[in-house]
């Protein structure tokens, strides 16, 4: 965990509205665990004021600019342009200075070796699943159910395939893959039975639907959540979600930045009207 003053190595649009940014990041290959995130300072000025949280897509090495230098260690983030901060980010170029705080939070548990692993990603929610897949393919069969609204939201699937992951794509408008929600394929898979662990990241309604299905079939689930964050280090207490057993008389709030962003679904409160229970960015967008 440290604050790194560093530079952008590249920043490219990979699908309409989605960008992949490579950032020089010494030590991250050793330090970053699948599911962790960074707090990205968009620019040195105070506009926007707060840092933006982004999952780490992957870490790696690339050749230095000249042969005598050691290879450069980098991280990649993939972001969707949604507001003021990401609008500025899309304009960044090779060599621009940025600051990243991280790696932050707790990552995924890898489950039992050998059992099948099922990843469910919705749109930009795919990001933290890539490093997880890299790890899981070493010892397990891995399947990915990837969903989005249209074909533009289906990103990096071929990179998962290159790892040996079996991928199933669905879009709501049917522009690529099956037509419909990602949970349809997931439910079919769970009906087949067998020992497995499910990992999900994506929009809240998707995560809630995945949670219901996994609960119905008694399959363990880990979810990666988003929350509004100011500090990313457990100090502001702005990013909390309700823990299992939460009630007005015995409240339980867990920091998404510190205890999460990955949670065992059993440790969270899914409530009767779940969209209010698990706090994500809520009414903020």
């Amino acid at each position: 965990m440290k604050n790194l003053k560093t530079v952008v190595l590249s920043n490219q649009e990979i699908s309409p509205g989605y960008y992949r940014m490579r950032i020089l990041a010494p030590d991250y290959t050793r330090l970053a665990k699948a599911g962790q995130f960074i707090m990205f300072r968009v620019q040195r000025s105070l506009l926007p004021l707060l840092r933006r949280p982004f999952g780490i897509f992957r870490t790696g090495f690339m050749p230095a600019d000249c042969e005598t230098m050691p290879p450069k260690e980098f991280i990649e983030i993939i972001y969707k342009v949604v507001g003021g901060g990401t609008e500025i980010m899309r304009e960044l170029h090779h060599g621009d200075s940025v600051e990243i705080l991280g790696p932050l939070g707790n990552g995924f548990e890898f489950g039992e070796p050998g059992e099948e692993k099922v990843l469910v990603g919705g749109g930009i929610g795919l990001v933290p699943l890539y490093m997880l897949a890299e790890k899981l393919v070493e010892e397990s069969r891995v399947r990915l159910y990837m969903g989005g609204r249209t074909r533009d939201d289906i990103i990096t699937v071929t990179e998962f395939e290159r790892l040996g992951v079996r991928t199933h794509v669905s879009t709501e408008d049917g522009s690529v893959g099956d037509t419909g929600l990602v949970t349809v394929g997931l439910e079919k898979k769970l009906q087949e039975g067998g020992k497995m662990t499910v990992y999900a990241c994506g929009p809240m309604p998707m995560i809630e639907a995945v949670e219901k299905i996994c609960r119905r079939y008694g399959v363990p689930l880990q979810v990666s959540l988003e929350a509004l964050m100011a500090c990313g280090v457990g100090a502001c207490l702005g990013c909390v979600v309700k823990g299992a057993g939460h009630s007005d008389s015995t409240p339980s709030y867990l920091c998404t930045c510190k205890v999460g962003p990955v949670f065992d679904a059993k440790k969270l409160d899914w409530g009767n009207s779940p969209e209010q229970s698990v706090g994500n960015c809520g009414g903020c967008q």
Partner: protein, 312 residues
Amino acid sequence: MIKRKDKIIRPKMEVEIAGIKLRNPIMPASGTFGYGEEFAPYLDLNSLGAIVTKGLSLNAKAGNRTPRICETVSGMLNAIGLQNVGVDVFIKHKMPFLEQFDTPVIVNFFGNTQDEYAEVAARLDGVPGVAALEMNISCPNVKHGGIVFGTDPKAIHEVVSQVRKKTSKPLIVKLTPNVTDIQVTARAAEEAGADALSLINTLTGMAVDVKTRKPRLANTIGGLSGPAIRPVAVRLVHQVVQAVSVPVIGMGGITRAVDALEFLIVGAKAVQVGTANFVDPTAMSTILDELEEFCLTEGIEDINDIIGSLVV
């Protein structure tokens, strides 16, 4: 630069507040620095003037529903709801960590009744390692229709007097800016026995999501902090310094040394850094470096020479 025999003389940074010696005038603002541990990976806690804890209550407090925070222009709104572990857990589990450092620990606390304030102060009184208490009076008085203690001079006088009787530690009273005349509330706290005053707490504010037409905070109203509030804070500190004789700690939107200097120049003996810690967990060490640099280039040998040096 001040050079004597070719040696750079480092400016003197020590200040004293209510009998506590601080190695420099920079400390975190309550609620933006956790219990210190959260920032230890990023910052040498031994480099700070003091450490100020999250506000503590008699019993643990769960805090508000989410969303609890929302970014605004040059600032943020928060309605955390004073989530904290409670004073006893703090003393048992958080204090030992803080005691490892050679930095005064200022414990921020609050209550919902006068008795609660007094009881928390009493429990902290005997705790070694607690250098001073900072009393947050921006809380609703549940016995008086929820009117915020800090907006009513009479309520301030009563609650501060009662706490005063329960503690021999230096008592800092933290004022709310949400009043018509801050000089009146400042004097009420001083007369009731405050050894120092700190200000400003957050300004009440609100933001609306125009698409959903809902407030951006679950609590509807929250507290505004960050650079947006700084001119208001500087004005209020200036007014309080004129009105009282006890030392004043200034805060509100400090992100750089130049911001801190504004507060020192109008007469604050020390400053607290809040929201800036979220933007950059190393903010206070940068501010310290810049402050020393400023003194060197301006030929200031002792930071105390800046304090209250406003030219009008």
